[in-house]
Symmetry: C2
Subunit: 386 residues, 2 copies
C-alpha cells in the first residue's frame, strides 16, 4: 500500500472476542451481554472475570477471585514511600503511571518468551496478574488523595467490595450504599470499550511480551491525554467555569458559534445516545430522588448544559456521553476532578488486561509500515560548511 | 474491511519524514543521510538535532543545544530519593519506565489541546522537552547502576559529551577515548529505525496529546519486551551460557536443529546484513587492534558464534544484527547485560521524540477497528443459575 489512513480510522488492527459496539443502534456488549443487563445485575468483580475469561463465573470462582482481590489491596510500604517522593502538585494520572510501572520491580511476572505462548494463557497467571494490578491501582489512587494532601492514608478494608473499599479508602468514611452502588456501576461501564487508543496501546506494548505492569503503565499514559480519558476531568471544569444554570445556554451557544467542543457531548462510536450515558442518567435521577432534590449545585448547571446542548445538537446525533454524567456523579462522591481519569483507569484495567491476555494467546509484534515522505538520499555536510 | 493483518504487518500506519530503510540494499537513512556517514562524521548530539528538526544544525545551534543538554544532566534530588525506594533486584528498564513517568510530575509540559496543534510545533518547546528527557534518561540509567549496588552516584560532568558523561557517570572513571567514541557511535546507530513497535507505541500515546514524559514512558515499556529491545541483553547471556569458543559451533547447530533463534542473528527489515552491524563490526576490529588482541574472553566466543551462524544462515540472508555487536561492545565498557536495553532507550529517545513532534504536527487519535469474533448477543444468567 502506498497510502495510509490517519489514526488507522476504519482499519482493522486485530480480531477480538471481548466487546462489541453497534454504533447505529447504540448498543455495547461485553462478551455478548448487553451493558444494560450487566449494569443492572452484575458487579465490577464479576464483570472483570467475564471480560477476562469470556464467561460469567460460577459462584465459587467469583468468591475465590473476590477473596484474592481483597487480599491484594495492601501494597508494599516501599510503594507508599515512593509516592511520598512525588510532588503533590503533579497530576494523579502521572502518579498512577509511575506507580504502575514500579509494580514490575516489586512483584514478579512471567517471562512469556521462555514460557511460550501457552504459558501466558495459564489462567492462574492471568488471574494473579489481574488481581494484583486492579487491587493495587484502587489502593494507589485512593492513597494518593491522602498523601498529596500530607496525610497518612487509611489501610484497605477486606470486608468491603471493590467499589465500597475504594470509596472508603478515598474518603476515610463509611461508604454511602447508594453512592457505592453507583461507583460499582460506573466501574462496570468503564471497564471495556473495544479498540480505543489506550486499548490499542495495550496491544502494541503486549506484543513485545513486556510485563503486564509495563503494559498497563503504557495504557495509563495513553489514557491520560485530553483527547482520551482526560476528557471527564474537563466536563467538571467546564461546569465550574459556567458557574450558574442561567449561564449554561449562553455558554453552549458561544462554544458552538466558535466551533469549539462542549465537553462530554458526542462520541465517535455512537450515532445515537451512548448507552452508558443513559444508564448513568438514570442513576443521577435516582440519586436526586434519594436526596429529595438536594444535590450539589453543579448538578443543576449540568442539567442546564445538557438541555441546551441536546436542543442544538440532538438532531445531529450528538448527545451527552459517559464522561458527562460520570463526572457529576464522581463529584457527588467527593472525588476531585483531577482524579476522575485515574478512576477511569482503575475500571479500564479490567479491559486492558483482557486484551493483554487475548494478544498473548495469538501474538505477533506490531510493526506497521510508513509512507516515507522525507528527503531523498544526500551526503553529509561538514559542520564548517553549514 | 472484514479481515486484518496480524501486527499490522505491511499496513502503513503513518507518513514520516524521519528515517527510511531499504531492506533489499541494506541501507538506513536518517533524514536522507546514510547511517554510515553519520556514524563516521556526526555525534549523538548533532544526530538528535537532525532527527528532530530535519536538517543538520549550524555550529551555533548545535553549541546551544549541547549546552542545554549538559545543563539538564542534573535531576531533582527527589528523583534520586524515588529511585532509592525501588528494589535493587528490579530490572533497569522497569526502573527507567518508572522514573520517566515521574518526570511528568517534576517538570512542566504544555497542554497541547489548549495550545492547539501549532503550539506543540513550537521549536523551543520541542527542544526543551527533548533535552530534558534525553539528559534525564542518561543520568537516571547511570545513577541506577550505583544506587542498586548501594552507593551514592557521582554527579554529572558538564565538560564531557553525552557519550563521555554517560560512561563517566556509569563507571565513575575517566572515560577511555576509544570506548567513548564507540559509545557515541552506538547511540547514533540506535537513535532511530522507522516505525518499530516502540516508535509505533510513541505515535499511539502521542495521539491522545499525553505529555511527552508519558509518551516516552509508554515507549520504554514497549521496548522492554524480549521480542524488541530486550534482545540485546539475551545475546550476552547466550555468550556467557556458551562459555568457550570451542562450544560455539555445537551450540548454534543445536539451536537451529531445535528451530530456536540464535540471539542477535537476523533482522526482519533487512534482506542483507544490517548496515549498523557492519559499522559495529568495524569498531570491534578497531578495539581489538588497539588492545593488541587482548579483549574480554566473551569476544572470542562471539566471533566463533558469528562464524558458525553465518556459515549456516548467511545464504538465507541471516547475519549478525546490531544487537549482536552492541552487546559485546557494551560489555567491554563495563556495562552489565541487564542495562543494555536501557542504553538502547537512551539513544532511541531521540527518535521517539522526533516522532512525537511529527505526530503532533498532523495529529489524529489512533483508533483502529477490530474484527469481532466473539459471542453473539445473549442474556445475563443470574449467579444462582450458573
Amino acid at each position: 500500500m502506498s497510502d495510509y489512513l490517519p489514526g488507522l480510522a476504519g482499519v482493522p488492527a486485530t480480531k477480538s472476542n471481548i466487546s462489541d459496539i453497534d454504533g447505529e443502534k447504540g448498543v455495547l456488549y461485553y462478551r455478548g451481554y448487553p451493558i444494560e443487563q450487566l449494569a443492572e445485575h452484575s458487579s465490577f468483580e464479576e464483570t472483570t472475570m467475564l471480560l477476562l475469561d469470556g464467561e460469567l463465573p460460577t459462584a465459587s470462582a467469583l468468591k475465590e477471585f473476590s477473596r484474592q482481590l481483597r487480599k491484594n489491596r495492601w501494597v508494599k510500604f516501599h510503594i507508599k514511600e515512593l509516592m511520598k517522593t512525588l510532588p503533590a502538585t503533579g497530576h494523579p494520572m502521572d502518579m498512577l503511571q509511575t506507580a504502575a510501572a514500579s509494580l514490575s520491580m516489586f512483584y514478579p511476572s512471567k517471562d512469556c518468551l521462555t514460557a511460550g505462548g501457552s504459558g501466558c494463557e495459564d489462567i492462574n497467571y492471568v488471574h494473579n496478574m489481574t488481581v494484583k494490578i486492579i487491587s493495587s491501582i484502587g489502593t494507589v489512587v485512593a492513597m494518593w488523595e491522602h498523601l498529596r494532601n500530607g496525610y497518612e492514608p487509611p489501610g484497605p478494608r477486606p470486608d468491603l467490595s471493590h467499589a465500597e473499599n475504594f470509596l472508603y479508602m478515598f474518603t476515610r468514611e463509611e461508604p454511602d450504599p447508594l453512592l457505592a452502588h453507583i461507583m460499582d456501576v460506573c466501574l462496570i461501564l468503564h471497564a471495556e470499550h473495544t479498540i480505543n487508543a489506550s486499548t490499542f496501546s495495550t496491544l502494541v506494548t503486549s506484543s513485545t511480551l513486556a510485563s503486564p505492569y509495563s503494559v498497563i503503565a503504557a495504557a495509563i499514559g495513553t489514557l491520560s491525554g485530553p483527547l482520551h480519558g482526560g476528557a471527564n476531568q474537563r466536563v467538571l471544569e467546564m461546569l465550574q467555569e459556567i458557574g450558574s444554570p442561567d449561564h449554561a445556554e449562553a455558554y453552549v451557544e458561544k462554544r458552538l458559534a466558535n466551533k469549539q467542543v462542549v465537553w462530554g457531548m458526542g462520541h465517535r462510536e455512537y450515532k445515537t445516545k451512548d448507552p452508558r450515558a443513559t444508564i448513568l442518567q438514570g442513576l443521577v435521577a435516582k440519586l436526586m430522588e434519594a436526596r429529595g432534590g438536594k444535590v450539589n449545585p453543579l448538578m443543576e448547571i449540568a442539567m442546564a448544559v445538557e438541555k441546551a446542548a441536546e436542543e442544538r445538537l440532538g438532531h445531529k446525533g450528538v448527545y451527552a456521553n459517559v464522561d458527562f454524567y460520570s463526572g457529576i456523579l464522581y463529584h457527588e462522591m467527593g472525588i476531585p476532578a483531577d482524579q476522575f481519569t485515574a478512576v477511569f483507569a482503575m475500571a479500564r484495567a479490567a479491559g486492558w488486561l483482557s486484551h493483554w491476555r487475548e494478544q498473548l494467546g495469538d501474538n505477533r509484534i506490531f510493526r506497521p509500515t510508513q509512507v516515507y515522505t522525507g528527503r531523498p538520499p544526500r551526503d553529509y555536510i561538514p559542520l564548517e560548511k553549514r
